[in-house]
Amino acid sequence: MKTSKLAENPGLLRRLRGLNLALICFALVLFLAPMVPYTMAAVSPDSATGFWDQIRQGDTGVTQIKGYESGNLINDSGIFWMEFRNKWISPGGAWALALSLVILVLAYILVGPMRMSNKPSGKTMERWNRADRVIHWYVAILFLLLAVTGLSLLYGKAVLIPMMGKNAFSGYMDLGKDLHNYLGPLFILGLLVMIVKWMKHNFFTMIDVQWFSKMGGMIGNQHAEADYINGGEKAWFWVLALFGIIVSGSGLVLDFPNYGQFRETMQTSALIHAASAILLLCGSLFHMYMGTLGVQGALEGMTSGQVDEEWAKQHHKIWYDRVKQNN
């Protein structure tokens, strides 16, 4: 059999094979070249990350599912809220409350209660009338109930669950949440009436500046004169008015999700609500101390409404003089 020229020449065969391969490659490149822009677009890492970034930034798409934010794939504002709540508000609040208690204990030990400098005269005068007392205790009792349930919501997981177990705590918190939600608006009504009713007594005057400069007569034997309401009480009134309104406003936002406010609004409100509530709570601790242990004879003014004339002369000289003059 006649052998072909090619077979006789292996070198040529190899060269032709090489040419073939080169031709095939060339054809392939020609064929695929128009597709390069498309494949590049799909392969390029920019495309993948671009898509991811788009969603990550909270881009909203289309969905068949009805509901708030249902077209939103990722909303990481909750992470910020969580960090702020768990790492700042909750430990910060615990420190603030603990610090307030420590200051009060130290004040009790080091400074001690302010006693009456003269013997009680036995003659009394009316300091808070029935309406004042009703509104005070209405607000005070609701404040305490809201404080206890609110603190349980913030600290119960860390403090109460180890003590009472998850089931009991959940049962208590179920009730606690409803109490907090329903008593909140009732507290607001009382707070507003109180602010309006007592505001006229609480504008600062020069007397209060002198009162503050003497630290209310708390240090040493200095005597600080005051009108019906002293500087410290006025300061507490304005703190309560300002932060009370902030707590109330943010609380109402949280209390009525049926009006459609959602994620970011709720998160901001929850943070403001917790922070200002803890601030108020710290303030209220000082108020409670001054009203009970801190100043002898002060509590009667808010329970029976009557204070001893000697007490009035000592703590609210200007008011005492005015009342005596008018009589």
Partner: protein, 198 residues
């Protein structure tokens, strides 16, 4: 220990909503609640992409961190479950979740929320496996039966993958090797990128 994960391949999802329907059917999810939803980005435009999303069963989940009654927990296989008996319906998990997974049924007076409902990875809840109580509260427990979540099993294009993280990764890695790009994997770094507790 296996770690369960969802992975939705946006290159494959065709927005058929089969996963949503399967989920609702298998778990008897109440009206108004969708444990899973499909979202289409750039709808009708170039680079349109659809993604099915539900609870991603995060590592170190934010919902667990904020729940005031500690009713949400991570099961052994990384599935995030919750106890409806403990839930007080405060909505904190909803505020914390990046994926909008927690759902709240029955708006009572003033919009008071009922007990939270969310995807369970078809793993039921703390009740006895496949008991009536479990089914009524949480839906099916397919994991206890050795099955995959209904959504992933029903997915016609196999865009939605669910299961052991290693298996899911292997399948997806094979796809991206052919595809030459990792475009498509979705939500991974958000849900699983966070450092795990201990």
């Amino acid at each position: 220990m296996a770690r369960m994960k969802f992975l939705c391949d946006s290159e494959r999802c065709i927005e058929c909503n089969g996963c949503v329907t399967a989920c609702k059917n298998v778990n008897e999810v109440p009206w108004g609640i969708n444990r899973r939803r499909v979202v289409t980005i750039n709808d009708g435009e170039p680079e349109e992409a659809s993604i099915s999303v539900s609870c991603m069963h995060c590592t170190d989940a934010p919902c667990i961190a904020v729940c005031p009654v500690d009713c949400i927990y991570e099961a052994q296989d990384g599935i995030v479950l919750h106890n409806k008996d403990l839930c007080i319906g405060c909505g904190y998990c909803l505020m914390a979740c990046p994926f909008g997974a927690p759902q709240f049924p029955m708006e009572n007076a003033f919009g008071v929320r009922g007990k939270m409902d969310k995807c369970t990875f078809c793993a039921g809840g703390p009740e006895e496996d496949n008991s009536i109580a479990e089914y009524e509260k949480y839906g099916a427990n397919r994991i206890a039966q050795g099955k995959l979540p209904a959504c992933a099993e029903m997915c016609a294009t196999k865009a939605l993958l669910a299961g052991d993280a290693n298996d899911v990764s292997d399948i997806f890695r094979e796809r991206i090797t052919y595809r030459g790009s990792n475009a498509g994997a979705w939500g991974q770094s958000m849900a699983y990128g966070r450092k795990a507790k201990d």
